[in-house]
């Protein structure tokens, strides 16, 4: 078990290191002069002249070679310093620290929404296998997974915010303002989680030990709770971990539409402004969050599965 964890953690660290390197070099070999972009973004077109360009290059160490800059960046990154945003002229870590809680708030709400809807839906579908409820839920899943989230967001704004005036259009000024973005964000996850929950339930229900449980004379409810759900849920935990990736990715788009002040919006702005340190910071934070969540998921999975506890290997 400990061995398994150490191996997983080392793998995550390795992957994150490669991620950061890759991002750094990808972003830094970008065509177009960074200094020009910075001046343009901060002071407008008129400020772009040789003298200012030199000053900017000096300030952000842009005259050094890419490798030297990289070494410097790695050194700083370890202390939580991701450099200074060209656009906001503030430390990247400060900006991300300001916005991250909002993304977490949105992501967690969306996650809860989707779990609360998808898990019961999947469970009931499986228990009603091939009956009406199952067919309706399958169609529901097919349809929800076919609508683009950003469009659903716009339709929700038009209907619920503009026409019915139930929720605010954007921002996060009132507690209700989280409802529409979180709902949109959870939609994509609901489809996959429902499918997987249903499949996992059906798989367990066809196992021999369920036959044995019936042969013992257990009540249907006891069989469902003690044997079916207990075995059907662990695989879903891994699925949920992967789904968080969709939430993080979706947040980039959804925050943009609802003007939700999170990391996603920051990321898009950074891309449009060619704000390199900010892009790198955002990518790293998202990759780190994703990796950390999946690591936690793996640990939970290992903790509840005696087979891994026993052999140190995940049966995939």
């Amino acid at each position: 078990m400990t061995k398994y964890l150490i191996r997983r953690i080392l793998m995550v660290v390795g992957v994150l290191w490669m991620v950061s390197t890759l991002t750094y070099f990808t972003v830094h070999v970008t065509p177009g002069d960074t200094a020009t972009a910075v001046l343009y973004e901060l002071y407008g077109e008129d400020a772009v002249n040789t003298e200012n360009l030199e000053r900017v290059r000096e300030k952000y160490d842009l005259n050094e070679s890419v490798f030297k800059q990289y070494a410097e960046w790695v050194k700083n990154a370890f202390t939580g310093n991701f450099g200074t945003s060209y656009r906001y002229n503030k430390p990247v870590s400060y900006m991300i620290g300001l916005r991250l809680p909002n993304t977490l708030k949105l992501g967690i709400t969306a996650f809860i929404f989707s779990v609360l809807i998808a898990i019961p839906l999947g469970v009931i579908s499986a228990l009603q296998h091939n009956k009406l409820f199952d067919h309706i839920s399958r169609i529901f899943v097919l349809i929800t997974s076919s609508f683009p989230a950003f469009w659903v967001a716009i339709v929700l704004i038009i209907v619920c915010a503009l026409k019915l005036k139930l929720f605010p259009v954007s921002g996060m000024d009132s507690p209700q303002s989280i409802v529409l973005p979180a709902l949109t964000l959870s939609l994509g996850m609901i489809a996959t989680t429902t499918r997987m929950m249903r499949a996992s339930m059906l798989d367990v229900m066809s196992q021999d030990y369920i036959w044995v449980a019936k042969a013992k004379g257990l009540t249907r409810n006891k069989i469902i709770v003690r044997h079916i759900l207990r075995n059907a849920i662990p695989p879903i935990i891994s699925v949920l971990g992967l789904q968080i990736g969709h939430i993080l990715g979706g947040a980039v788009v959804i925050e943009n539409i609802f003007s939700w002040p999170g990391v996603g919006g920051l990321f898009i702005d950074a891309i449009n402004a060619k704000d390199m340190p900010m892009i790198e910071g955002c990518v790293l934070v998202i990759a780190f969050g994703y990796a950390a969540i999946n690591l936690v998921v793996d640990i939970i999975y290992a903790a509840i599965n005696p087979e891994i506890r026993y052999s140190g290997e995940a049966k995939k």
Partner: protein, 278 residues
């Protein structure tokens, strides 16, 4: 003797919807009622009516015509992206699985890195490097998508590599390339085909999201994502501008999702829902 039953209905509906979609894309120039690029400011924001079934946008262009022409962009991009990434992924996956060792480690570590991001974040980061435009959007999608096929192809290859069937092929003197070409590839390809049919819907949505964010085709191209992005500005007084292209996207994604689901049930019931997790 397979009769039509409830299971197959999804497949048949999928085939019909996909056929409609493809027909619209091919016949686009003949069936669009107006020139989709023709601007008439005097005609802007006309509500859906008999003359303009889906209304007009902020530049007075007919939305229906734009959607019809846009189907070409959507289909071309997604289908091209999926075939390129399936090709690259399958090749690398087979090589990785068959050769093992250092080659396998390198390829799989690259896959791990790719999977460390939510796909859209990776594509966005890549776009800072590549710049905007339809071709770059295509490249960005391929860069992310190939990993999926590589993993499946690798897994299948490893399963086949040690089978008696391949051992026999080796014993009768086939070279590595011959074995891969004549034995491994045909065995792996069926899974990949199912995966492709399941993925097209997702890729359509994915292309749409990226062009919505401004990474793909640029205005005035009648790309569905771009149209929604433009329409978003006017959603208060002209909601139809943003709503109509979204329904087109959903229609095509649904068509392919149903086709993929139906095909999977037909060809490989064992695969069930599992492949979707990756």
């Amino acid at each position: 003797m397979k009769r039509v039953n409830r299971k197959n209905i999804i497949l048949y509906v999928g085939i019909v919807l996909t056929a409609i979609l493809v027909a619209v894309a091919i016949l686009a120039p003949y069936i669009m009622p107006y020139d989709p690029t023709k601007m008439e400011i005097s005609q802007k924001f006309i509500k859906p009516c008999a003359a303009h079934i889906l209304g007009t946008d902020h530049l007075g262009r007919d939305i229906l015509s734009r959607i019809i022409l846009g189907s070409r962009i959507s289909l071309m991009t997604s289908v091209t992206a999926i075939f390129i990434s399936a090709f690259i992924g399958t090749m690398l996956g087979i090589i990785s699985g068959y050769l093992g060792g250092a080659v396998d480690t390198i390829i799989m570590r690259i896959v791990d890195v790719m999977l460390a991001f939510p796909a859209i974040v990776f594509a966005l980061a890549l776009s800072t490097f590549l710049g905007k435009g339809q071709t770059n959007l295509l490249i960005a999608i391929c860069c992310v998508q190939w990993t999926r096929y590589a993993r499946v192809a690798r897994g299948e290859t490893i399963m086949f590599r040690d089978s008696e069937y391949i051992q026999a092929a080796r014993a009768i003197g086939n070279s590595k390339t011959q074995i891969i070409k004549n034995y491994v590839f045909p065995a792996v390809i069926s899974k990949i085909v199912i995966l492709i049919s399941l993925d097209i819907g997702t890729i359509i949505l994915y292309c749409a999201s990226l062009s919505f964010l401004g990474l793909g085709a640029q205005p005035p191209s009648p790309d569905w994502g771009v149209m929604i992005s433009e329409g978003k500005e006017y959603m208060q007084y002209a909601p139809w501008v943003a709503i109509a292209p979204g329904i087109a996207i959903a229609f095509s994604a649904l068509a392919f999702n149903m086709l993929g689901d139906g095909l999977r049930d037909l060809l490989d019931p064992r695969m069930k829902e599992t492949v979707r997790t990756e």
